[in-house]
Assembly symmetry: D4
Homo-oligomer: 252 residues x 8
Amino acid sequence: MRDILESVADGSLSPTEAEVQLAGYATTDAGRFDAARETRRGLPEAILADGKTPDETATLAVAAVETSGRALVTRASPAHAEAVADALPECDIDRDARAKTVVAYDSPFERPELDASVAIVTGGTSDAEAAGEAAVVLREMGASVERIEDVGVAHLGRVLDHLDTLREADVLVVAAGREGALPTVVAGLVDTPVIGLPVSTGYGHGGDGEAAILGMLQSCTVLSVVNVDAGFIAGSQAGLVARAVSDARNSE
Amino acid sequence: MRDILESVADGSLSPTEAEVQLAGYATTDAGRFDAARETRRGLPEAILADGKTPDETATLAVAAVETSGRALVTRASPAHAEAVADALPECDIDRDARAKTVVAYDSPFERPELDASVAIVTGGTSDAEAAGEAAVVLREMGASVERIEDVGVAHLGRVLDHLDTLREADVLVVAAGREGALPTVVAGLVDTPVIGLPVSTGYGHGGDGEAAILGMLQSCTVLSVVNVDAGFIAGSQAGLVARAVSDARNSE
Amino acid sequence: MRDILESVADGSLSPTEAEVQLAGYATTDAGRFDAARETRRGLPEAILADGKTPDETATLAVAAVETSGRALVTRASPAHAEAVADALPECDIDRDARAKTVVAYDSPFERPELDASVAIVTGGTSDAEAAGEAAVVLREMGASVERIEDVGVAHLGRVLDHLDTLREADVLVVAAGREGALPTVVAGLVDTPVIGLPVSTGYGHGGDGEAAILGMLQSCTVLSVVNVDAGFIAGSQAGLVARAVSDARNSE
Amino acid sequence: MRDILESVADGSLSPTEAEVQLAGYATTDAGRFDAARETRRGLPEAILADGKTPDETATLAVAAVETSGRALVTRASPAHAEAVADALPECDIDRDARAKTVVAYDSPFERPELDASVAIVTGGTSDAEAAGEAAVVLREMGASVERIEDVGVAHLGRVLDHLDTLREADVLVVAAGREGALPTVVAGLVDTPVIGLPVSTGYGHGGDGEAAILGMLQSCTVLSVVNVDAGFIAGSQAGLVARAVSDARNSE
Amino acid sequence: MRDILESVADGSLSPTEAEVQLAGYATTDAGRFDAARETRRGLPEAILADGKTPDETATLAVAAVETSGRALVTRASPAHAEAVADALPECDIDRDARAKTVVAYDSPFERPELDASVAIVTGGTSDAEAAGEAAVVLREMGASVERIEDVGVAHLGRVLDHLDTLREADVLVVAAGREGALPTVVAGLVDTPVIGLPVSTGYGHGGDGEAAILGMLQSCTVLSVVNVDAGFIAGSQAGLVARAVSDARNSE
Amino acid sequence: MRDILESVADGSLSPTEAEVQLAGYATTDAGRFDAARETRRGLPEAILADGKTPDETATLAVAAVETSGRALVTRASPAHAEAVADALPECDIDRDARAKTVVAYDSPFERPELDASVAIVTGGTSDAEAAGEAAVVLREMGASVERIEDVGVAHLGRVLDHLDTLREADVLVVAAGREGALPTVVAGLVDTPVIGLPVSTGYGHGGDGEAAILGMLQSCTVLSVVNVDAGFIAGSQAGLVARAVSDARNSE
Amino acid sequence: MRDILESVADGSLSPTEAEVQLAGYATTDAGRFDAARETRRGLPEAILADGKTPDETATLAVAAVETSGRALVTRASPAHAEAVADALPECDIDRDARAKTVVAYDSPFERPELDASVAIVTGGTSDAEAAGEAAVVLREMGASVERIEDVGVAHLGRVLDHLDTLREADVLVVAAGREGALPTVVAGLVDTPVIGLPVSTGYGHGGDGEAAILGMLQSCTVLSVVNVDAGFIAGSQAGLVARAVSDARNSE
Amino acid sequence: MRDILESVADGSLSPTEAEVQLAGYATTDAGRFDAARETRRGLPEAILADGKTPDETATLAVAAVETSGRALVTRASPAHAEAVADALPECDIDRDARAKTVVAYDSPFERPELDASVAIVTGGTSDAEAAGEAAVVLREMGASVERIEDVGVAHLGRVLDHLDTLREADVLVVAAGREGALPTVVAGLVDTPVIGLPVSTGYGHGGDGEAAILGMLQSCTVLSVVNVDAGFIAGSQAGLVARAVSDARNSE
């Protein structure tokens, strides 16, 4: 600890980095950035822009880049995205407007690389945001990601067209709104773990993803499930499986 | 009306039949049997045994046979079935233990015959009771009934095996519990009306048919739905469609 | 398939039409338009404007017209309607502001014509949007549509005034909000299939259509039901019945 | 108070009656009987047998007879009814097995008599218990009670047959299960207050009276409502209205 | 009927008034105004402004004045109120901004006068809108209205201060949000009918009036209840009781 | 630790007591008894009999007595109570049949004694079980307990009769079912902490304690709340407050 | 009372203060300010700005300062805060923008001082508003407040870092959103009362604080709970406990 | 196929096995046994005894042994277990009374063996049944299973005692009832996938596992979840992950 403090004193370590090394997080005006989680679970710590001002979001993103070399912002409006870009002019910025994510990289940043693949399957265009959030976190964790889009249970043929891709993945994230039956149909076709990601489409009775999540929990095949629209969680859980597989592949 | 009363007076008409002709229903100790509904919608009036004693059920069944030549008892325990059989020794009795229905016929009874067919599709053995209730009311309405059993959304192949039968029916009743996705899958394969029949299987969150009915209401294809376990309603509605088709076939 | 590709090569077939013939759908910037559904179930594929930008809606409408000769847009705001009209200057446009629908026709477009009629019954002016959606899809499927408006269960006389019209229809869609009892009352008066369409009126406990849909599911007569405000589904299901009747009338 | 205590001392007043005069209730081993409510609101205090043992019920009934000359027991099983009769051998016992009520009268007991009438309307036999509970409390309050049974919204004719009776009542209790639409239909036909009494019939989604109570709360006409199966409350509220009318009739 | 038509022909009767006399309602561009309800139940027909444009509201108000001499508009924003006043320049306008009601009277208009009084009790200022709606309809029905405000169950003394006023009323409307206990407390103090009016205050779990309505339905004393914020219904039901009492007082 | 093991070796410490000293709990065939909680929070560790067999309950009670000198069994049927008494023949047994609790004491057992008092208030006899559970745990924690029974919000006088007792307590537990308003009324009368204990009485809509807990959470005065029927938790929380007050009184 | 009126007459007492002394509250154009509650429970009476206009809020704040020397405004937007400051130019203003509270003090104002401490623990930055509301009311009641922030159940180490502070407090308020497990974890570490404060974070199924409040009600340790986001209630209840402890410390 | 039929003809293949090879399932009087699922996903097909008679269960178990060499029966009462043992006298029977499972093996049966480990963590004894179901399916899939029992979030020390075991597992199943916080706490300590298994303990508001499942879905760390009490699903999903890891370890 003395070393760290001396590095701060001689300027070779910023106070933020020192705080991270000592306490596991960085304190900012906009709250705390949890750098330790990267270390603990190997998951990129996401900054949820929704409910924060653009300024708060940017402040946390700066702290994230400073401490972990990368900032992953989810549910970002264009204003959030702009604020992050403005605050980090020297960073590479990867923005996925459909998934509402922004990733800023200190340069040079080395993403981990996993020897495992994940398929992300969606039933319709309204699943794009949640599925995209999953895809971004998986990319950041280093997994190979394969997207299969617009296959719905009312159109069996489309699902069957992708059978090979589905079966080649080490783990699958299957997003679906409305009645949420797609993960069940897909899980019946593969022998790998499937994570159901319910999406808040639908209307009237059982809308806002309620029918979808209940349907996945009641699935007559083997699935595990995350909360409605929880693309970041679904992607991270798939990433943890992928990393376990990758580590196993490269062990001995 | 005078004629009716004179027929009662000279014994050629029972008081029960006279009441039916005048008021549309027969009054018994166990309540009222609604004979008029047969006339009004052409639907056999069912006697729901569940919640009635065997004696009450039998009393209503006797009134039904006397006024309409037929008694259709649903959700009948063995004790209910026995009481009905005992009370109607001269009747032909058709009992379906799995669907928990009993039908007693005055002899000779002429069932209507429709020139239309209905397919009843189920996802698993636990759907048998509700689907069976639908099958019985359809048989009594005179429709040709085709049963397709044990095809589930986690086993696409099984559904596809029955494609021809599914497409030959004039109207379909598709029963499913758990996540309730089978009607959606089937409706995507045919160009005829599909009626979803949710079944109260499932457990935990969304159990007792809740996930199933919500899933069918949220279906991304065209369906109409009845309440959980409402096999009699699903069968009757399919029968009304079948009769409309049959009448149209035979009009000119 | 070679033929299709050669037609594309020589310009006699647009890439969009070719994609539809090969894959069953057309891919656009705004997502996928499912042209195959027209073929599969004979249902016009609706473009749900709600949740899409005017531009996305218009892009999909162009794809729809190009592939099926017709675009049916539901839940369209004035801005959506305008965008569609602007994008398809050569089309006939049929706009129903109350039902919030827009239909654009390639000219000349031949709607199918069914030899069957559907009555659409509403309890009040707040049911107009859902009922209108049903009416538009039925018109596009070719059914004769009879509207009966503003008949409520608290005013029995009004319902009885329309008894003849109700009984002449081959199938009925009955829309109701608040307590949702109108379909039950109507179904007690006819011998044809009735489809209940709950509407999201009402307030406080059981509001937003919840009391209406539960009441229809609990109906003491024979009904099938669609989700709250699902006018398109109710109309389509009635249309499938009407087409079955029409086909039967014109068979031999 | 001294007078009361002296009457106890010389035996002209039982301790129970003295307690009632001083405290407004009688304490028994089975809990407290609230005699004061009779005085306060003019409502007979009911002893709810459900959840009590036959012995506890009988003990409270004895206290009720001793202090108010009458015991009104609701939701009584045959065992409860027998225990009450055994404990009060000198009383007149009025037992309504269908409504599951028992009333025991000290003799001679003078019921109040109101110059007002209440109609109790039911949709089916399963409403009999709740409606019967209402009828008993109204009889005990002294109102004239008219029963109209088995009129359902799917059979408009039956309702209209009773129009005169409905319109002659000063206030109405309308019981209905399933979709609960009968109070709305009835209220549309009369110009007097209607109290809706939802009944716990129905099954599946919205069963156990949920659809019925929500439907009555959403009624598009003027109604007030009590809880599911709350026959005692509905009857008492109607009795309070009847008494107000009766008092007004006899004032001058 | 011929007479009516001839009166129209010679101009002594407007088409609107003729339609009302023949059909019981007036048809306008903004929908139908139900004039017959005034006659049927003696209740002023309210025009619910919420969900209608100011123009539609004004159109219906004009029809109401033309057919019944009075227009009662509820849940009116300032814009609605202004539109009504503009459309009816010759009318007396009574506007209660807190209750969000507007009443326009043809002149001279004779309100009925009832020989009965209603107390309206509220627990807090947030109950003012719902209670005010009840007060306006009661005034229009001709009842004497007494307001008791800001008495809450956490301050028993305040309730007890008004004991005499509470006991003098023929019927009471008691409005309460949050836990909704006030009607129970008040009903324990009077021997007249109490109508509970739950109000959509409260937050978090059980907010929006849910705890209030459930509490009133579970009340351990005798109450009947209307839906959350249904001031118009509560007032009308109290008015029906008041009229019954008034008629009884003035009969013989 | 060596000392402990040696004590076991020489027989001066039982293996159970040794396990408790080392691990904080005792392992039995029926599961684990958490002796450490006594030490940690000073709360007697309750054995919930409901859901366990009489044998399992008795086994855990033996372990409890052996390790903490006392066993507190809640929700005990007569069979549970008997099994506990049989297994601990040398213990003093305190059984409260109404609260369904059994406490067995090693002799001699010294209960703690607190210099603080708790009032437990109930609205009716159906609150007795939950309130009794609270009373027992408070007695075992050493608080003085004052019971105030059968005071309901529909009878304000009864509450006011007990004002002095209510105000003398250091902390109050107020139990109520149905609409759950009693804690609010009581809290309006005292300046000490009130803990609301909702009870699962009530029926129909909002029954099983739902209206009660929601009403307490929405209370317009200051309260904290425990779950429905959680008498043990309410009593323990009141006991923690009482102990804090007692400790403060005796500190200096 | 005569004295009070004479003081008003000679100007030594304002009418507002006189009303408070006589009636316990002050009437303003914006409603009633309940000054008596200060006296009754020793709790500062909060003015909930949410749902009031800035003007109404300021009017009530002026009345509060005039009658109790202090105004505590909760859930205040910047506009509310400004209006209060403008209306009370001579007051000291304490504004906590994060907790959305404003307190205005007449000068000189003497806050009470309690000899007891409260710890307020939060799981994340989104708990800041609710926890801040609790902190402000505790400060106004005179308790010492210790804040422990950003300790979450997914990071056990952080909780354990604060063990000494947690154990030194006399009572704790623990705020948590999402799964709401923090109060359980904290209560397992201390022997003093813990009040759970659920916060309306979270999304999808169980969001808006529902999972948090249910989790706290189901806690496997001893807790009492307030409604979602009810920081004022949680703080006040903790303040009542702190005052009881403080009084006990300083008694003899 | 001819080969199969010839083998049946010459008796070298039973008809049941032939049906399995041709259709993927075996038809019995008690329904269909889905042998193909073993092949398809490598999951043992479980026979859910709950809801089946002992005879039906035994019949399906015989079919299972005949077709896959093994029968796995879940939620078996003692009567179910006995019937299975009686029907398969030649089999090895493994019965876990606590988890209510029975496994019968044809002899000799070779279970697969995976080079991967799963930890199953429970919060209390009431989680034993669900966790045991998971353990049995994992054992049958061939994973190494480590059980960690009775660690609860109110006792952090116990969780930390098992840190090494938790971190050594390749994947974890964490079962918890009540507030369901244990999976969150555990997931914060490991870098491998955690599957939350909510258990239907708890009572009152949020009981029956509702609080537990909502809490897991709202977890502030990364988890996926199965339905309440779905031990078989949780175990199978963990087994699919374990097999993926095992396969990766042994690939090269």
